[in-house]
């Protein structure tokens, strides 16, 4: 695990869909730069060439400009190309192709509250215990129904662990206000809306320790609503799960 490098441009990228997003961001910025430099050069040229001076008069007749048509059509075509070739397919992949039939997929329930994240794993039986808002309590931050046997082996922790190269489905819920689940290195942002459970999926390509933040103003402690995000090898992840299980006293 190398220390990830952060700076004044895009942070490290370890997400399976992240290369597409970064490519789009880069292409759009080159496009923007080209337009901006073109416009600016034209403006500066005009300001010098057509400055007021003795003997110089403005031309009343509108010039026959063709390049503005080219520019407008060019912008429209470029935008359409970006939209059709990148934006729509990438977004469709991110939002709809959920890996539900992949037996490796790991499902995590993420519970947001002012001002912490909680990560709820189904445990050895692979089944989440029954949950509901009426069960939330200080000693039950995941809102588990203790009468449900499926929930006995459930793991609830404050930091997220996931194995590398494995599809993850995170089911996001919030107890109180709107939060937003943001992992910059995964190129993910997803609002967590009260009254809804919103699933997202992602897959990490390399291991490391990173941060999860809240991207939606959620009150006084909004700024410190962060959690650790650990991507580890499949073996390390299994070892971590086993340790958490023994901590529950179930082995």
């Amino acid at each position: 695990m190398n220390d990830p490098q952060y700076g004044w441009w895009l942070p490290p990228q370890i997400s399976a869909h992240g290369d597409d997003i970064d490519l789009m961001i880069n292409i759009i910025h080159w496009f923007m730069l080209a337009l901006f430099v073109g416009w600016s050069l034209f403006i500066v040229f005009c300001l010098v060439r057509f400055r007021e001076r003795p003997g110089h008069v403005a031309v009343y007749q509108p010039i026959e400009a063709r390049f503005n048509r080219w520019l407008e059509v060019g912008v429209a075509v470029a935008e359409a190309a970006i939209l059709i070739a990148f934006a729509m397919p990438v977004w469709a992949k991110v939002k709809t192709l959920f890996p539900i039939n992949d037996t490796n997929t790991i499902i995590v329930r993420v519970v947001a509250e002012q001002f912490k994240w909680l990560f709820h794993y189904p445990g050895k039986d692979g089944k989440f215990g029954r949950t509901g808002p009426e069960y939330y309590a200080d000693d039950n931050p995941a809102g588990l129904d203790f009468d449900d046997d499926d929930g006995i082996d459930d793991i609830t922790v404050r930091g997220m662990h996931i194995p590398v190269d494995t599809p993850i489905i995170a089911r996001l819920v919030t107890k109180d206000v709107i939060h937003s689940f943001k992992i910059p290195v995964m190129r993910i942002t997803q609002d967590v809306i009260p009254g809804m459970e919103i699933p997202i999926w992602f897959e990490a390509r390399s291991t490391g320790k990173f941060q999860i933040g809240c991207a939606q103003l959620c009150g006084l402690g909004h700024y410190e609503m962060k959690a650790k995000f650990t991507v580890e090898s499949k073996q390390d992840f299994q070892r971590w799960l086993d340790e958490e299980h023994s901590a529950l006293g179930l082995d």
Partner: protein, 574 residues
């Protein structure tokens, strides 16, 4: 007319005035004060961001124990400042200055009308604006302070917030009422009170921009007015428009009936707030078009396409609001629709900007201070518009959403964009309003330093956003991304304080030129539009004789004409 415009006492003339010019000045001064106040709030935030946890110099000790701890800002106060900075700048600064002040003063003059169609409605609109503004300011002194849930006031956070939020909602109701009264007045005035001969396609572009803006105000604001009443009911009357069931806040079950949707608030809010973006920018474009036409000494290139683009912008601005909500979990069909409309709406903006740029070709360009601001508007608005592209597409937005990139983007549109346009307007029309010229040297100092520091503030923000730093964080350095980009944060903060200093020459110029500068002629820029046909400053009733428009708005450098400008109000010998 003459009876209605007889001499009046001080109160009737300056305080409870129905004269559109006095109301325009009232709006202008009030809005400038609010703008400055909103700017001060931001400067305090910039201290906390650059030097987190350190006592605020000079004023840290004066803010009180509920806001600061030993002079250092508390998160609660930071959130209040953030919410109120946004609210004040948008609803109490830019819109009243762009529409209330410039619109009020110059729309009747540019269409050759003696006043607005409904002078008393106009007065009521200003009064509602002041009441709304005062409610907002007073809320700082409530226990718990002002609203702190962002200028967007998303439910449920805003519903469970302290009393400041109730004041925010009441304040908004007055501000919205003010804009609605103003909007109706503008529409009727522009349609009914145009001078003889002033057909729609002889209207100055500024008047067009105000007409479209007025429609946006009238059609979009009722959604937020209704939403504000609903949120107020949720807070005070136990309804649950925006509150789902089963919320647990700080370990306590919330007693809301439930069944409401927090997303409903977002839809209603953004249904207003996206057209609002165009309310912020269109009058600015209008002013820039006027100033560029006058100082290039030639007709605007592509006047008609510009007008059509304006209408198209206004129409389409009602169909893009949900691009603020890609990250709420909307389905791909919905997001595809809003991505397409968002890409389409960029085209008319490109057309208007391109027409203004091509207008420079073949010109004879003068460089007085208003022209400098208008020229700077072009690339600055360009950056603001272009950086909207990655945000308008859902996939890049998945990374950029709620980062400083967003803040940089919309500030480029509104701050070096609209505010520069408003400065251009102030310098351009100052001689008409006051009868005096503004000092050129002070104006140039004001311009160059403002230009430098505006970019010093907002360019680092784009990079900060690219580095993944989230907005609305009381202390971004607790994240690795914020720590790595902290140099940019400091650069931004110092630029912000530099920008404050850069306004000093403007403030001096403002007061000094009112008294000391040389008197201005009636038409000092040799311009063509109708406002220059009035005596300077224009008397109550505006035009001593009825004006008639004989030609289009920008007849400059007409071949064969005696002078390089042929005003609309003078019949040309054929």
């Amino acid at each position: 007319m003459s009876e209605a415009h007889a001499e009046m006492g001080f109160l009737r003339k300056y305080v409870f005035s129905t004269d559109h010019k006095i109301i325009g000045i009232q709006y202008g001064i009030t809005a400038l004060v609010f703008l400055f106040f909103g700017f001060c709030l931001m400067m305090m935030m910039r201290w906390q961001l650059a030097y987190p946890g350190e006592p605020i110099p000079l004023i840290g000790g004066l803010l009180g124990e509920t806001r600061t701890d030993r002079g250092a800002m508390l998160p609660n106060f930071y959130n209040q400042l953030g919410a109120m900075h946004g609210t004040i700048m948008v609803f109490m600064g830019i819109v009243p200055l762009a529409v209330g002040a410039f619109g009020n003063y110059f729309v009747p003059l540019q269409i050759g009308a003696p006043d607005m169609a409904f002078p008393r409605l106009n007065m009521a609109s200003y009064q509602a604006f002041v009441i709304g503004g005062v409610i907002m300011l007073v809320s700082f002194f409530l226990p718990g302070g002002a609203a702190s849930s962002g200028w967007t006031s998303y439910a449920p956070l805003a519903v469970i917030a302290t009393t400041g939020q109730t004041f925010w909602l009441f304040g908004m109701m007055f501000l919205i009422a003010s804009s609605l009264l103003g909007g109706i007045n503008f529409i009727v005035t522009i349609i009914h009170l145009r001078a003889e001969g002033l057909t729609f396609f002889r209207l100055p572009f500024f008047v067009w921009s105000q007409l479209v803006t007025a429609f946006l105000l009238v059609l979009a604001f009722p959604a937020l007015q209704a939403a504000s009443v609903m949120q107020l009911m949720d807070r005070l009357a136990g309804t649950s428009f925006f509150m789902p069931s089963g919320l647990v806040v700080g370990g306590e079950q919330i007693a809301a009936v439930g069944g409401g949707s927090p997303l409903l608030w977002q839809h209603l809010f953004w249904f207003l707030a996206h057209p609002e973006v165009y309310v912020l920018i269109l009058p600015g474009m209008g002013i820039v078009a006027e100033v560029i036409a006058v100082n290039t000494r030639k007709p605007l290139w592509g006047y008609r396409p510009m007008v059509y683009s304006l209408l198209f912008l206004g129409f389409l601005s009602f169909g893009v609001w949900a691009h603020h909500m890609y990250m709420t979990g909307m389905g791909t069909t919905m997001s595809t629709f809003f991505q397409i409309t968002t890409m389409i709406i960029s085209i008319p903006s490109v057309i208007i900007l391109t027409c203004l740029v091509i207008s420079l070709w073949g010109a004879s360009i003068r460089f007085p201070v208003p022209m400098l601001f208008a020229l700077a508007f072009l690339p600055m608005f360009g950056i603001g518009g272009l950086t909207g592209l990655p945000l308008g597409l859902a996939a890049p937005d998945a990374f950029l959403h709620d980062t400083y990139y967003v803040i940089g983007h919309f500030h480029y549109v509104v701050a070096p964009g609209t505010i520069f346009a408003l400065f251009a307007g102030i310098y351009h029309w100052w001689p008409k309003i006051t009868g005096r010229q503004m000092n050129e040297a002070l104006g140039k100092i004001h311009f160059w330093f403002s230009f430098l520091f505006m970019n010093g503030i907002f360019m680092p923000m784009m990079f900060e956003g690219m580095a993944g730093v989230s907005r609305r964080l009381f202390d971004p350095t607790i994240y690795v991304t914020g720590e790595a980009a902290h140099g940019l944060t400091i650069m931004t903060s110092w630029s912000a304080w530099g920008l404050a200093l850069a306004q000093v020459p403007f403030i001096i110029n403002f007061f000094w030129s009112m008294r000391k500068q040389e008197m201005a002629e009636d038409n000092p820029w040799q311009a063509t539009t109708l406002e220059w046909a009035t005596p300077t400053p224009p008397p109550h009733g505006n035009f001593p004789e009825t004006v008639v428009a004989y030609s289009g708005p920008y007849e400059y450098s007409v071949p064969g004409a005696e002078r390089d400008f042929s005003p609309q109000f003078i019949k040309q010998e054929a």
